[in-house]
Amino acid sequence: MSNQTSDAILKLQNVHTDIAQYHILHGVDLCVERGAVTMLLGRNGVGKTTTLRSIMGLWTTHTGDITFDGANITATPTPARARAGIGFVPEDMGIFTDLTVEENMTLAAASGPLSPARRDWIFTAFPPLKTFWTAEAGNLSGGQKQMLSIARTMAEERKLYLIDEPTKGLAPAIVSTMAAALKELKNQGASILMVEQNFAVAKAIGDYAAVMEDGRITWSGTMQELASDTTLQEQLMGLSMEASA
């Protein structure tokens, strides 16, 4: 049930991942189309974050194949996956609190110095980062930390962005800023695989959707198809997007 397309930048085939003694992913099949936003949806604990971390190599996949940009990366170490062009925004933000905002951004641009044009674009998307550029990241508010976490991935152009719940626990005003920035990223033609619980944001940004249940993809198709069918939403996720938006 994968959204098989001809121009997939990322393809997961029968991916199984264990965390300690727990078998979390039970054969994930997923395609992420180039230049589009694919939303990974599902209830809590179904394996969405594990899927992203498996793609990044932070959890080891013991069975199955992960193909990125035409190359099999299943056995590739995490730093090499990052250098190949995968940017990852983790759920816990993972910013370096002892370093300044500037140092966080500089570190994220691992292949070379952060270009002024890119920095200005990030400042436009996330104005607080300009204000707190030389401040320690640990002193930022929760929303600002999330902005930094996403901005860090934008520090250089990536072939694929993996974004895990970017609006989780944020105030509505910050959610709007975040959604606008993600839309801007999408408009630039970025390929994105995003886990999102806020269905309003998911609906507004997503082109495709994949729904997970018990460590598998149980449905995939266009976001429009899912958004327009409340029966399907309730059947797949136990609630409708309209109700939770």
Partner: protein, 350 residues
């Protein structure tokens, strides 16, 4: 100019700036401000231990790696200079060869340990370094034909650095080879300290800090954590070995107790923790405080005990033999009042 020299990592606190200035001026002018053999010896020890603590902080404070093998590297540098001087004869060439060989051996040892153990959990790495350091200390004690065993050995340093080399008198202070030796050690220590400041404030140092805080995230950005940890371990070991070379040059003696003992390792931990982990300035403050306490606390307590003779209980508590107890109390108080170390507190961190 000064900012560049300090790699833009200034003390960032008025009080800390004053403290650092006092330490710097105190060491730079030690022979003139505090004449006497004992005070000069204390100043040299402070200069050397600042470098040793700074190199350990690169590992512990900046990279988050707990190692108990740091005195082993310190010892390698010391034995390098000692053995080179013994076998090549006195001379600057022997000191240079011994120092470089000691640093290279320390870096090579660190590389091997890191290669085999940095992939395991931090606690296992710490245990492996402890085991290797203990094994090397035992080996050095056993190989008496080479190392002098438990007794160690004395060796000759260049005549120019010896007390017999008299050069005159300045401001009532005799200028001799010993003084030149002190300034050689002071200059080398200063250079190594500035090198450590440069390293931790370089892009490499920032990656180390990122790894310390969140190694998974650093990997996800594209940094090879094991490679960075390995380089940091080797660099830290090489600088520790150079500090050991300076120590041997100062003492003109090497032995397991002065360079390889576990008590030096504990002192080192205290210096870094008291000064403030993750700040090279903390190493300077911590090393100065601890060396001063170790040298003068007994004297201070002796004077206090005499002054309080009319209060028998207090006088007995202040007996100089109880100096380790009071050092422990001072350590507990400093950890309680300065949980981020003295420098962390002075800089107003957290």
């Amino acid at each position: 100019m000064l900012k560049t020299l300090l790699s833009n990592d200034t003390p960032r606190s008025k009080v800390l700036t004053i403290v650092v200035l006092i330490i710097f001026l105190g060491l730079a002018l030690a022979p003139f401000l505090f004449p006497g053999v004992r005070s000069l010896d204390t100043a040299a020890r402070i200069a050397i231990f600042i470098v040793l603590a700074a190199s350990y902080d690169l590992l512990l404070g900046y990279t988050g790696v707990v190692s108990f093998a740091h005195t082993m590297f310190f010892g390698m540098g010391a034995y390098g200079v000692g053995l080179a001087s013994l076998h090549m004869g006195r001379g600057f060439g022997a000191i240079l060869v011994g120092s470089l060989a000691g640093a290279a051996l320390a870096a090579a040892f660190a590389f091997l340990i890191a290669l085999f153990s940095l992939r395991v959990r931090a606690i296992f790495f710490a245990m492996i370094t402890l085991a290797v350091a203990s094994a090397v200390a035992v080996l050095v004690s056993q190989l008496s034909w080479l190392t002098g065993g438990e007794d160690g050995f004395t060796f000759k340093i260049p005549r120019e650095l010896g007390p017999a080399n008299r050069l005159g008198e300045v401001a009532g202070v005799k200028i001799n080879g010993k003084l030149l030796n002190y300034y050689l050690i002071f200059t080398c220590s200063l250079a190594l300290f500035l090198l450590m400041l440069r390293v931790v404030n370089s892009p490499f140092g920032r990656v180390l800090q990122a790894i310390r805080e969140n190694d998974f995230r650093a990997e996800a950005i594209g940094y090879r954590v094991v490679w960075y940890r390995t380089v940091a371990t080797c660099l830290s070991a090489a600088v520790a070995a150079l500090a050991g070379s300076l120590f041997a040059l100062w003492l003109r003696y090497v032995g397991p107790d002065t360079t390889l003992s576990f008590s030096i390792m504990l002192d080192l931990l205290l210096m870094v923790v008291i000064g403030g982990m993750g700040t090279i300035w903390g190493a300077a403050v911590g090393a100065t405080l601890l060396v001063l306490a170790q040298t003068y606390l007994q004297d201070l307590m002796g004077s206090a005990a005499s002054a309080t003779e009319f209060l028998p209980l207090l006088s007995r508590l202040l007996d100089p033999d109880r100096w380790l107890l009071w050092l422990g109390v001072l350590f507990i108080l400093s950890v309680y009042f300065f949980p981020t170390g003295i420098v962390g507190r002075l800089r107003g961190d957290k």
